[in-house]
Structure formats: structure tokens, C-alpha cells
Amino acid sequence: MTLVMETERTAPDETYNFAYLDEETKRMIRRAILKAMAVPGYQVPFGGREMPLPYGWGTGGIQVTAAVIGPDDVLKVIDQGADDTTNAVSIRRFFRRVTGVATTGRTVEATIVQTRHRIPESALREGQILVYQVPIPEPLRRIEPREAETRKLHAYREYGLMHVRLYEDIARFGRIATSYDYPVMVNERYLMAPSPTPKFDNPKMTAAPFLQLFGAGREKRIYAVPPYTTVTSLDFDDHPFDVQSWDEVCALCGAADSFLDEVVLDDAGKRMFVCSDTDYCEDRRAAGHVGPEGADEADAPAGKKP
């Protein structure tokens, strides 16, 4: 069974305005986005709307995408790097219905990529927009529960507290154990939560040619990293920032440089490591790369040249 991700443009459902939200709302969100781009990393409040799916399923990201999408855009939606998981499928289907835009599974073809948890492995280019779904936009929240106080900490650039969290990590685990939603400084000014992306993806955020937009639906905040902005991961002088690495390579495509998911195969504990980015993995296999278990794989990517 292979899901068909690539679809051509169609006519949208006439019952709804283009991209579901009314034009005034989209304009309001675009104003918030422009402000967010003008002050990189700063969380801009916006009048978040009720969306036809629950909070936590990407309502913030969907509103951002709805505000920036046009009829000629090509949309890709990923969840944990995969195009064929429930969240990704339903969001893609939603936009297909209310905008009729073309959708794709291929990172290179997309103009807008909405993501939960991952930045695609293949480098995005200028002109592409990466929209993140953010559950908790405030990086200081876990240590400082008072909203009035966290706003002051941002306003006065008092970020020592964030290092307390890293200190606790090292004291408890001997190293910085935070592996996702790893705090970053944007443009050397604002502390930012990169949403629950693994810290493996943090280095892709800095000086990136593409535009990064973050939408938090429940907390009604939008923030942004404009192209070519510095994004620095916090660390200690004697415990520098480091990304995850694996002893294994991708079992299907043999990639040694991508983020791997561990998949348990049976009750006996047999497991394999595969690329979390399905598009990247398929591209590599199409180009002839084969991992240790790639040859036995029954459902080889359909519709790709060998």
C-alpha cells in the first residue's frame, strides 16, 4: 500500500473561503507574521481562530499556512519526517479541500512545507517556506511559570535561567540530555523554542536560505526566523552543543548522515534503524543506495525509477 502524495491542482470546495479562513483573518495573521519576521525570535500574539481539528494537532501551523498559501503553491506536510502519518495526511487533505493546491511528498518540489518535529534532510532553498507546528512556544515556561515574568525576561534579555535547565541536565545525566526542543538564541537577541524538533535539526536553522515560520495555536503566538539569520544553540563552555549520532546507518538506504528512527520489528526485540525523513530515504534508494536490509524490503518505493 502506498499513499499517493503527488496530486495536481483541483478546484477547491466552494463552501469555504480559499484556505478556510476569511480574508480579514488571513490579513491579521500576515501582519503578525511580518512583525515576527521583523523581530526574529520574538513571539507575536495573534487572534488565533478555532480550527476544525483539536489543539495539539497543528492548529497554529495550519493558520500560518492558510495565511501564506496561494493557488499556485505546492504543499508538503510532514509529521515526524513522514508524509504518510495520520496528522500529515489529514492536514494535507484539509488544504486540498479548501484550496485545491497541488500537494507533493517531495521536498524539492514543495513551496511550502508544514512540519511537526522535523526539518527535511534535503536542504531547502531560497523562496521555500517551512511552517512549524508549535505546542509550547515559551522556552522558559518549564522553569518560570509566570507569563508576566517570562515577558520581562525576554524584554530585558535575562536568559540565565535557561542555563539552569542545562545545568540540571549535566548534574543529573553528566551531559546535556535535552534532545528535542533544544533552546536557541535567534539573531543574538531572543531566546526561542524551536518546537519539538530534535536538536539534530538545530544546525539546519542557522543562516538558512528559507523562511521559517512558527505557529502556536493554543497559546496564539507566531514567531519567525527570516532567511540568513543566525540561530545559536545554547551550551556551556565545557559542555559544547552536540547533535545525536548513531552507530547504525539507515537499514533501507544506507544513509549515515540522516536522523534515524528505531523501529521494533517483532516481540523478540529485533529492530531496525531507518531514516525518519521518508522522502529523503526514497530519493536515496531511487538513486541506487541500498542499506543493509534494503534489498529484502518488500514494498520498495513505488513510482520511482530504480
Binding site: 535575562e158 540565565g160 535561567l161 540540571e168 548534574a171 543529573r172
Partner: protein
């Protein structure tokens, strides 16, 4: 002593703070010299804690001014002369505040070492080993078991929490420490140990301190000078022994005579 040394580290001029119709502090004036420990005594509701909040930069007075002599810039009006970020920077780098309830002064969710290290990281320490080392030194200085450096303060006894609060405040070598009933709620023997410790550390570091207490025994032990407050006013001011042994104001006389003699 040169003339410069005589500039008070903190001077308070006719400070008034109201809450609606209630006047918590009325026309309070005094000054604090460097290295001095000033006790503020008085019954509950006499405006001691409000005054402390005004002095420590967390509550603006409606009238009067509080002038603090910054380490390298000289005296500034705390509220009109400094912006909020400057005031917060001052609180982090030159001051300490010890709360009556250690829960108000500690972060209960993070370890003891993290609590001490927070003050260092707040002023820019970015070397884990150094922060950890300083936290350990201060655990030892306040006589806390080094083996508990990674425990949460929630698992500490009241006296240990209070000692941890001192360590957290003294680690940045403050010039001025505000203490609000630092021994309140502790049993007598723990109080005595803590008082010894506070006295030793303040002498050793030469910090100035303002100590709010209703316990005259604590005041006698720690304070060089006392001011007595009643209904928001200062009714008497003088050297500790003088005020406690020979009170002149009727209220001070009442206060001194009401202490239970053991």
C-alpha cells in the same frame, strides 16, 4: 576614614507607601553605612515587610526616595534614577534577598546546586565546572552536606532550606542583603546555629544588611543599629544595646518588656 567612606550605601528619605486608605509606611527616613547591619523591629502589621520591599526595589513608594550607592557609579534614586532593567541588574549583581519562607526564595523544582548556580549563570557564568565548583564551595560554607548538591530543596528540612537560601544569595558576593525574618518558623536550636552562621558570614564578607524581625533576641545578636516601627512610623532609632536596654519611646518600652524571659 575618608569622606568618601562616609557616604551611606543606602539612604531613605521620607518614604511613604499607601495601600488604598491604609498607610503602611509613613515618612520613614534613615541611612545605612557600608558594612553595617540594621535591624527593623516592630509588631506584626507595623509596616516592616512593606518597608523592606520598598527598599529592595520591588515596590515603588508613593512619596519620598530611596538612594543606593552603586558599586562604581555612586548614589542613585532607586525608582526614578534607574530603569527597571538596571534595577533588576542591580538586584542580581549587588543584592541578596532572604525571604522568611524559603519557598519564596528558592526554586523548588531544581536541585540545590542549580539554585546556587542560578545567580552565577544569571550574571553570565557559562562554564559548568566553575558553576558547579562554586555551588559546592557554598554548600560547604553554609554547612550543607555536599552529597546533597543534586537533591531538590523540597527534600530539605526548613533549616537546610534557609541555609541554602543564604548560599544562593551570598554566592555572588553581594554588597547588601535584605533579610525578612530569616529565622522565623525554625526551632530554637536550629535558629541558634543559623544565627551563628549568618553572623560569621556577614562579618567575613563585610556585607551590609537590613534585617526585619519581630524577635528582639535575633535583633540583639545580629544588628548594630535598630529602628523601631509602629503603625508605619519610625518611633525610635539607635544603637541596638541602647534601644533594647534603655528604650525611650513608650512603645519600645512595651516591646522590650513584653519579651518572655526564659
Amino acid at each position: 576614614m575618608t569622606k568618601d567612606d562616609m557616604t551611606p550605601i543606602l539612604s531613605v528619605d521620607r518614604v511613604t507607601r499607601r495601600f488604598g486608605d491604609l498607610v503602611a509606611c509613613r515618612d520613614v527616613s534613615f541611612s545605612l553605612q557600608a558594612g553595617e547591619v540594621l535591624g527593623i523591629v516592630g509588631e506584626s502589621g507595623s509596616g516592616k515587610t512593606t518597608l523592606l520591599r520598598v527598599l529592595s526595589g520591588t515596590l515603588a513608594p508613593q512619596a519620598g526616595e530611596v538612594r543606593y550607592a552603586l558599586r562604581d557609579r555612586g548614589p542613585f534614586d532607586l525608582y526614578r534614577g534607574l530603569s527597571e532593567p538596571e534595577r533588576r541588574w542591580l538586584q542580581r549583581t549587588e543584592w541578596g534577598v532572604v525571604h522568611q519562607n524559603p519557598r519564596d526564595g528558592l526554586r523548588m523544582g531544581i536541585s540545590a546546586g542549580g539554585n546556587i548556580g542560578e545567580r552565577l549563570m544569571a550574571v553570565g557564568a557559562r562554564h559548568y565546572g566553575e558553576v558547579r565548583g562554586a555551588a559546592g564551595d557554598w554548600m560547604a560554607k553554609v554547612e550543607l552536606d555536599l552529597g546533597r548538591i543534586d537533591d531538590s530543596p523540597a527534600e530539605f528540612s526548613g533549616g537546610m532550606q534557609q541555609r541554602l537560601q543564604f548560599a544562593r544569595n551570598l554566592v555572588i558576593q553581594p554588597r547588601l542583603v535584605f533579610m525578612d525574618e530569616p529565622t522565623g518558623g525554625l526551632d530554637v536550636s536550629v535558629q541558634a546555629r543559623l544565627l551563628d552562621l549568618i553572623r560569621g558570614l556577614t562579618r567575613e564578607l563585610g556585607v551590609s544588611a537590613i534585617l526585619v524581625t519581630h524577635d528582639l533576641a535575633v535583633a540583639r545578636l545580629l544588628a548594630d543599629r535598630l529602628i523601631v516601627m509602629k503603625d508605619g512610623r519610625v518611633v525610635e532609632e539607635g544603637l541596638t544595646d541602647q534601644v533594647l536596654d534603655d528604650p525611650t519611646h513608650p512603645y519600645s518600652q512595651l516591646l522590650v518588656s513584653s519579651v518572655l524571659q526564659a
